[in-house]
Structure formats: structure tokens, C-alpha cells
């Protein structure tokens, strides 16, 4: 490959590049003419009318032409050697930099409410990002460590959210009692689903989890008497500061601590709450990875048959990964419910599962820091450029495909061994 690249850079392959570009442009014409060049709109009569967008169409085709031309010119016709092009020295530098990045990010996260106390919008965004960091870390146990592709992770998020909402509205249990219950219930559902399906091959498992996620959503949507159907559940109790409510009243949080009441108190509390939950997920994952169960997960991801030959019960090993991942999804779900005060099945679609999966895949399966960075970039980044919000999932989709092509183990894929024999090498 390097030879070929070197050769092609000496004699610029103008002709082949031109040929490729023309072909690509022709394909693009076919792909985009009807979909981009024409647009259907409902007119004033209600019937569909056609409008043209030939400029956009021409621009896209020109872009494809230019892109394809440059690609062949620079890389030749072979695969783009991006994955292998990262030199080991750079990889090592990134790895050592990431050792500082994690504490730096943590300190930054801890300081966000202090730095941006006045900026309610940023605090809310921080809570959103942290929720996805937590979901990403939870799913990372299942996908990244155990290598089980779970496309229905949102189901456990939903179980957690509805458990909290129903327990809190019907039995008036406090958040701190509901939180573990929601986690346990989600884990229970994880085991219930996992038990029959975990014998299945990887891709079948993925489809079954997807179906399961959809079933949960559809049941939530249609079981009106229990879940409120599409209207969801509203006036879910908001969290209290360990029993002290956030309100402008006697016995409230601000009253007890002699502070002036401010609605921001609750937001800050929620921020630290989700940060703590996310860090708990992270801590448990890091500990488990260094325990036999965690190593068995990773071994199973590498080679399931070899695991069986070593006497490892792969079904229960998968089940624990599934249940623990589900439990953290349940925690995140009950946090979501208490934060929103309102939940409905709309929040738990397959798109949500795909979003969390994309974060895990982009972050580098198994890498805790990578998942956090991916969540931050993908959610925070798009929040900053709101006008591109529409393109968010499109970019996610492309990122997933390109990552699989170039760096299938994720952008950050330096694996830290779980134990060393000799001195720790640096």
C-alpha cells in the first residue's frame, strides 16, 4: 500500500482520478436527482406539489466529483490508510495525554456549576451531556467490554424512568428509595430478556434486543390505564436535597441553609446528582474490569469458544454484563424522570438507542474517556451550532460507518491491561 501510494504521488494519476470522479458524479446524479433535485411539498390544496432545487443538486454532484477526484489523486484507488497511518509514537502521545485529560475533564465537570452558575442554559446542557455520558458508560459495559451488541438499551432507560415515575406518583416513595428500586427493576428486566436470548449469535442478539426495546415502547404507548399511554406521566415528584425540597418555603433547602431561594439550586443539585451517578457507573466499570468477571467479559468479546473451553459459563457471564448495564440504564432513567417531571414513550424510541450506541462506538468500545468525549462532542457540539441540529443524526450515521471502516475499535483504542506482572510500564 505504501509503495503504491508513493508511486501514485510521484506520477499524479490525473487520468484515473478524472475517470473515477466522472463515474462518481454520474452515480451521484442518479442518487440525488429525484431526492435532492426535486422536492415534494403539500400545497395549499393539500395535494403534493413538486418544486425544484437544481442548484443544490448541482452543488452536491460537483462536491462528489471534487471529492472523488481528490481521493484518487491523493490515496490512489486502494483503501484510505487512515487507521494504520497513525504512527505508534503519536498513539503513545495521545495515550499519555489522555491520562491528564481524564482528571482535567473531571475537575472541569466539578467546576461547571460554579463557573456557569448564572447560565441556566449551559447547566441544562451539562446535565443532558452527563445523562448521555452515563448511558454511554452503562452501554459500554455491554457493548464495549462484553462485546454484545445491544440495540434496545433504551428499554432499560424506559423501565427505570417509568419505575420511578409510577412508584413516586402512586406510593409517594422518595427519589432515594426509588433510585435503587428502578435500577433493580431494570436489571431484572435485563435478566428476563437476557436469559433466553443470550445464547444467540451476535447479530441475532442485536436484532432481538431491538425488538425487545420496541415491544417495551409499544406497551408503554398502549397500556393506557397503567402508563398513561401517549400522554405519559406528568407531575412526577422533583428531587429533594436528601429530604429538603427545593422551594421558597419553610423547611426547604434554602431555608435550612439560610440561603436566598433560587431555582438554580435545584439545577445545580441535579447537575451534581447526575455527575455522581455517572461517576459511580465509571467507578464500578473500572473496578469490574480488574476483577475476574470483567476479564471474562473481555475474553468473551475476543473469543467465546475459547472461554467455554476454559470452563467459563458464558451465559451467566453475558447475563451479568447485561444486567449491570441495564441497572445503570435504569438509574439514568429514574434521573431522567425526576429531572423532567414528565415522561412519555416518545423519549424512548429506537433513535435514542442508536444515539447511545453511536456515542459508544465513536468513543472507542471499551474506552471510558472516549465515551465521555464522544458524548460531549456529539451533544454539546451540536448544541452550540443549533442551526445544524437537523444534520446531527446524519453526521452520527456517517461517523459510525467511517469509524467502522477506519478504526473499528473506536477513535481511542489503546487498551490498558487489567493487570501487570512486572513493573507498570509507562
Amino acid at each position: 500500500m505504501s509503495n503504491e501510494a508513493a508511486r501514485s504521488s510521484r506520477t499524479l494519476p490525473l487520468l484515473p482520478a478524472l475517470k473515477d470522479a466522472t463515474l462518481s458524479a454520474l452515480v451521484a446524479c442518479g442518487l440525488f436527482f429525484f431526492m435532492i433535485g426535486l422536492r415534494t411539498e403539500q400545497g395549499s390544496t393539500g395535494a403534493l406539489e413538486i418544486t425544484t432545487r437544481f442548484e443544490t443538486f448541482a452543488m452536491l454532484v460537483a462536491l462528489v466529483f471534487a471529492g472523488s477526484f481528490l481521493r484518487t489523486l491523493v490515496f490512489g484507488r486502494g483503501p484510505i490508510p487512515l487507521g494504520r497511518a497513525i504512527p505508534p509514537s503519536l498513539a503513545r502521545q495521545v495515550a499519555s495525554a489522555s491520562r491528564f485529560a481524564a482528571p482535567a475533564l473531571l475537575i472541569f465537570a466539578l467546576l461547571v456549576p460554579v463557573l456557569f452558575y448564572q447560565n441556566r442554559y449551559l447547566l441544562d446542557l451539562g446535565i443532558l451531556v452527563l445523562t448521555y455520558v452515563m448511558l454511554g458508560w452503562g452501554l459500554n459495559i455491554v457493548v464495549g467490554l462484553a462485546g454484545l451488541l445491544d440495540l434496545g438499551y433504551v428499554a432499560f432507560y424506559a423501565v427505570g424512568a417509568y419505575s420511578y415515575a409510577l412508584l413516586a406518583t402512586h406510593f409517594h416513595l422518595s427519589f432515594w428509595i426509588c433510585l435503587p428500586l428502578a435500577g433493580i427493576l431494570a436489571a431484572f428486566w435485563g435478566v428476563l430478556l437476557g436469559f433466553p436470548v443470550l445464547r444467540l449469535r451476535g447479530d441475532y442478539l442485536a436484532i432481538v434486543t431491538l425488538a425487545f426495546g420496541e415491544i417495551i415502547r409499544l406497551v408503554l404507548l398502549n397500556w393506557q390505564s397503567f402508563t398513561g399511554g401517549p400522554n405519559g406521566i406528568s407531575s412526577i415528584p422533583r428531587p429533594s436535597f436528601f429530604g429538603l425540597p427545593f422551594a421558597d418555603a419553610e423547611g426547604s433547602f434554602s431555608w435550612t441553609f439560610g440561603l436566598e431561594y433560587s431555582p438554580t439550586h435545584r439545577v445545580v443539585f441535579l447537575f451534581y446528582l447526575i455527575l455522581a451517578l455517572a461517576l459511580l457507573t465509571n467507578w464500578v466499570t473500572i473496578r469490574l474490569r480488574r476483577l475476574p468477571i470483567g476479564r471474562a467479559w473481555e475474553a468473551m468479546r475476543e473469543d467465546e469458544i475459547a472461554c467455554r473451553s476454559l470452563g467459563i459459563n458464558t451465559t451467566t457471564t453475558k447475563l451479568t454484563a447485561f444486567a449491570i448495564g441495564a441497572m445503570f440504564g435504569g438509574f439514568a432513567g429514574s434521573f431522567f424522570a425526576t429531572r423532567q417531571g414528565f415522561i412519555s414513550p416518545e423519549s424512548f424510541t429506537f433513535g435514542e438507542s442508536a444515539l447511545v450506541l453511536a456515542i459508544v462506538v465513536l468513543g472507542g468500545m471499551g474506552s471510558q474517556l472516549g465515551v465521555a468525549v464522544a458524548a460531549l462532542v456529539m451533544l454539546g457540539g451540536f448544541e452550540l451550532f443549533r442551526e445544524f441540529q437537523l444534520y446531527r443524526m446524519l453526521v452520527f450515521g456517517f461517523a459510525m460507518v467511517l469509524i467502522m471502516i477506519w478504526r473499528p475499535r473506536g477513535l481511542v483504542s489503546t487498551r490498558e491491561p487489567s493487570l501487570y506482572l512486572g513493573e507498570r510500564k509507562t
Binding site: 442518479g30 415534494t40 403534493l48 436470548v197 442485536a206 437537523l390
Partner: protein, 304 residues
């Protein structure tokens, strides 16, 4: 009885559509052993191309419905096939020797891309199309309940049968079909024996997409509405059909499609329409757990 017959007709129509989509899943799975998760969205793209092409033809003055429909069929099949080809070339071919979950993740990415691409390009709202093929025949009637067989139902079923026959002929008799069957048996061996693997796999995607686009057209004509999200649910149901029939088996895909169509219709008619998708998804889970080889599939022996 009349109600039953009426549901049977609806079920068979629906099953034909699922069956056509299921062929795409089953062919790709048979040859490269991957679940082409984006196939449902290719079906959706087919429906959209047909819709836009139809409106465009009307706009440029093609008013004869049969001619317009014929042209729409050609355009949609050709362009959707191009989408199928591009998807394979861009998202799957570079991953052929990657680790086992990579193609599936890539396919999920591709599915997200197609859905959002159509949503951005054509808007998120549902696209209604007034009925193009109208008219129906009353087969039997009693107590004021007529069993109707509409022209569109006839077209759907006849087209499906015609496509199935020609497709079976293609697989059984042509050079391409032979190459496909060889690849299905053993990809490496087929390549050693001079089968052009890349070309065969590409053509598999092309054919699968073309069949899915026909399903898309029929869906559009039958239901009269289409949106960017139909590919997801239809895709999962068609995949269920492929698994139920025995993944890798072409008659199995058709049989599975019919069964899923019938189950869904009868479930809606006799139990609850709200839970019809729950029924389909549950069947998927149950079949994968208890009958992973499907009705007509071959058992797999784990290679140690």
C-alpha cells in the same frame, strides 16, 4: 366467514410486500452472512423515488396512468438499485474482513444516514398520494358485508408472483444465479474457482434493492401515504419474515412474508390493532430463540 376472507386478502397483499423486502435480507445474509440493517430504509427510499418520479411525470405532462406507472416502476427500480449498490460499495465492502460486529454497526449507521437524508431532503411530514389505481370487485356478500378485492390488491399479488417467478429463474438458471449460489456455499472457494466475488455481491445488493423498490411502490399505491420512518418497522417485519422462513432460503422469505402479513392482519382483525407490531416483534424473538433456522432453513453447525 366473509370477514375472514376479507382479512385473508388483506393479509396476502401485505405479506407479498413483506416477502419482496425479505428477499433482500435473505440473499445478503445467505451470501455474506450479514444482516443488512439498512435494507428497510432502501425500501423506504424506493417508495420516495417512486412518489417523486410519479409527481414529476405528472408535472411534465405524462397523464396516462398506466404509462406513468410503468415509467415509475423502471425509474424507481433502477435508482433504488443504484442506492443498494452505493450502500454496499461505501459501507460494507471495506469491512468484509473486519471483526464480526463491524458490518452490522456500519449497517445501523447506514440506516440512520438514509432515514435522516430523506428526512432532510424531503421533509419529516407524511406524504399523501391520492389513490391512483382505483376500482374493486365484490367477491361475495352477506348481511351487508361485502368482501372486496381491489384492483391494487390484484396488482400487488400478481406483480409479486411475476417477480418471484423471474427471480427464481434467475437464481436457478443464469450464470449470475450460479455465481450467487456458489458464493453462498463458500465465498473463498467460489473466488478460487473464478467467480467474481465483488461483482456477485454488488449484484446481490442491486437485485435486493430493486425488489425492495417494487415493494416500496406497492406500499405507496396501497396505503397512499409514505414517510421517512416506514423503512424501520417494515424492515424489522421483513427481517422477521426472512428468519421465520429460514434465512438464506428464497422460498422461505416469501413464505415467511406471507405468514407475517397474515399474522399481522388477523391479529389486528381479531385481537387488538394497537398491539399488532408487538405481535410481529414477539414473533421475531420467539422464532430466533426457538426456531433459529426457520421453517425452510438449514441447521448451522458451530465451527470449533
Amino acid at each position: 366467514m366473509e370477514y375472514f376472507v376479507q382479512q385473508l386478502i388483506i393479509g396476502i397483499t401485505l405479506g407479498s410486500i413483506y416477502g419482496l423486502i425479505a428477499i433482500g435480507y435473505t440473499m445478503v445474509y445467505g451470501i455474506i452472512g450479514m444482516i443488512n440493517f439498512a435494507h428497510g430504509d432502501v425500501f423506504m427510499v424506493g417508495g420516495f423515488i417512486a412518489l417523486i418520479a410519479f409527481l414529476a411525470l405528472l408535472a411534465i405532462g405524462v397523464t396516462s396512468i398506466p404509462i406513468a406507472l410503468f415509467l415509475v416502476l423502471l425509474i424507481a427500480m433502477a435508482l433504488t438499485a443504484l442506492y443498494g449498490w452505493t450502500v454496499e460499495r461505501f459501507a460494507y465492502r471495506p469491512l468484509r474482513h473486519s471483526y464480526r460486529l463491524a458490518p452490522l454497526i456500519s449497517a445501523i449507521g447506514m440506516s440512520i444516514i438514509l432515514q435522516n437524508y430523506v428526512q432532510i431532503a424531503q421533509g419529516a411530514r407524511v406524504k399523501p398520494l391520492p389513490p391512483i389505481v382505483t376500482g374493486s370487485h365484490t367477491l361475495m356478500s352477506s348481511d351487508g358485508f361485502d368482501v372486496e378485492l381491489s384492483n391494487i390488491q390484484i396488482i400487488v399479488v400478481l406483480t409479486t408472483v411475476a417477480l418471484m417467478v423471474s427471480f427464481s429463474w434467475l437464481v436457478a438458471k443464469t450464470r449470475l444465479g450460479r455465481d450467487m449460489r456458489a458464493c453462498e456455499q463458500d465465498l473463498k472457494m467460489a473466488s478460487l474457482l473464478g467467480v467474481n466475488i465483488d461483482r456477485t455481491i454488488s449484484l446481490t445488493f442491486v437485485i435486493g434493492a430493486a425488489l425492495a423498490s417494487v415493494a416500496g411502490i406497492m406500499y405507496l399505491l396501497y396505503y397512499g401515504v409514505i414517510d421517512f420512518y416506514i423503512g424501520f418497522v417494515a424492515g424489522v417485519k421483513a427481517f422477521t419474515a426472512a428468519v421465520l422462513g429460514g434465512i438464506g432460503s428464497l422460498p422461505g422469505a416469501m413464505l415467511g412474508g406471507l405468514l407475517i402479513g397474515l399474522i399481522e392482519t388477523f391479529w389486528s382483525a381479531y385481537f387488538s390493532i394497537e398491539y399488532k407490531d408487538v405481535a410481529a416483534f414477539s414473533i421475531l424473538i420467539v422464532v430466533l430463540i426457538f426456531l433459529p433456522t426457520g421453517i425452510l432453513g438449514r441447521p448451522e453447525v458451530e465451527k470449533v
